[in-house]
């Protein structure tokens, strides 16, 4: 018994050594149910993945649409990043900052936004958006890997920046206070 049990699989051991009140027929029923459940979950996950991919891709084009960008913040726009003034500071996990970048507004999906050029403060801009959230700003993110002039971004935004961000802020446009300033919550690339 000891020898046998030492070579048996855990399920066999359960049947022989565990005085379970559950009968073997009930156990078989549960096993089938488990298999069916796992298959269903996998199927649902696949459908969801396909749906997300279809949402974010139309005929091979990245739309930048996802549940976050369409729901976070008071504004949702598609805009072209037209200028990054100067260099970013390091993002070495020692100092954290937000950095204003200049955008040409293409399409406004949500919120009232009538100007053509805006400044968006992006948190710790050297980090990919999927890795930028931290204990202080847990709701920031996106699928954008890096900021490059000429790229199109679909973004969820808020304003005024001071109501949503309190930290080091690199504003190389400070002499021009006419340009509205927004806080970047979620940033996806559009291709």
């Amino acid at each position: 018994m000891i020898e046998a049990s030492s070579q048996e699989s855990p399920s066999q051991l359960d049947e022989t050594s565990d005085p379970s009140p559950i009968s073997s027929s009930t156990e078989n029923g549960y096993s089938k149910f488990r298999v069916a459940l796992v298959v269903s979950v996998l199927l649902l996950a696949s459908v969801a993945a396909v749906a997300i991919t279809m949402t974010n891709h139309v005929k091979g084009r990245e739309t930048g649409i996802d549940d976050h960008v369409t729901n976070l913040g008071s504004f949702e726009i598609t805009a072209e990043l037209i200028e990054i003034r100067g260099n970013f500071l390091p993002n070495d996990n020692l100092y954290n900052y937000a950095f204003f970048m200049l955008y040409q507004v293409g399409e406004v999906h949500r919120g009232e936004l009538t100007v053509k050029k805006i400044l968006v403060a992006h948190y710790n801009p050297l980090k990919p958006r999927h890795a930028v959230a931290d204990e202080f700003y847990p709701d920031i993110g996106g699928m954008l890997k890096n900021f490059q002039v000429g790229d199109i971004h679909r973004m969820a935004l808020e304003m005024p920046v001071d109501d949503f961000y309190i930290g080091g802020l690199i504003d190389r446009y400070f002499k021009n206070q006419e340009i509205p300033r927004y806080w970047g919550l979620w940033t996806n690339r559009v291709k």
């Binding site: 020692l94 001071d162 930290g167």
Partner: protein, 340 residues
Amino acid sequence: MMVLVTVILALHPGSGIAQVPPNPETDALAREVRSKGWIVYSARTKNGDWDLFLMRPDGTNIRNITNTPQWSEAAPRFSADAKYLIYRRLEKGQIISHDRYGFQGQLILSRSNGSAPVEFGRNGEFTWAMWSPDGSHLSCLSLRGIEVVNLKTKKVVRRMPREGIFQQLFWSPDGKWFVGTANVGGERWTILRMNAASGETRVVSKYQNCTPDWFPDSRRVIFSNRPSGQNGYGWTQLWMADTETRIRSLIYGEDGRHIYGGALSPDGKYVLFTRCPQDGGGSERDGAPGGLMRLTDSPTIAGESKALRAIHPNVKNGPVLTLPDCWEPHWTFADIGDLR
């Protein structure tokens, strides 16, 4: 030209303190400050958490006043009458951010010897809390602005725009001013003074400054500054500035060390700081050796520091007392160490 340093032998649970031969000048400084009250500070323990400690200003009589292996305590601050302490309590294992600690954890109010700790607020509440001069109120800094909170009722009695201040808000001893680190005019990490009544602001020092604190005269401030023009990343130095004239002067610098945690003794005659080999002051690691010097010995430059000495040729070489590894020390002259 080396500044003479004496390392204090201390049975400190979180630091392995090296021994160097005693030096008459630093010995004299140690004797001079030994009976001048107590310094409270945060330090990492053998358990890996951070506790609060009291020590005599010469680094002796160290005692752990929190002893909480399940928590970390940070950034203690005496009330002006030295009856109470406020500090932040974080989950053990949570990294203490050297410049955002005021947003972390809970605000705790205790007696100045660490006894009778009370949770003043929940996590993320009463951020950057600092005593009013009479201890009846706290100033807090958050996205809502600067708020003055009644200590007894915990109600906000006044709120004003923060005018770019984003961390390290401190209330002047005369109650007339705030000072903090701010974004102003495109310049990041600017030391900004604010009139506590009108909200009127004045830039004190631009570019790469932080951790300001008041002199007892409510006119000068002490702060850390990493000036531009250094080779490579550069080293952070301890400076002071007159908030009226904006005249700045070096207090202490040392190539190879980032100087943070600047604080004055209650009479303004001595300066406390930390000497961290890495930038940030050490809260993300194990703290950094503390230092104590006479203000009359400023500017003092330690070590070879060729580049720094070239900029500041007329420095003094006063003694600097090395204190145990610590972070954000604060000093009272009150005799509180034997209260427990």
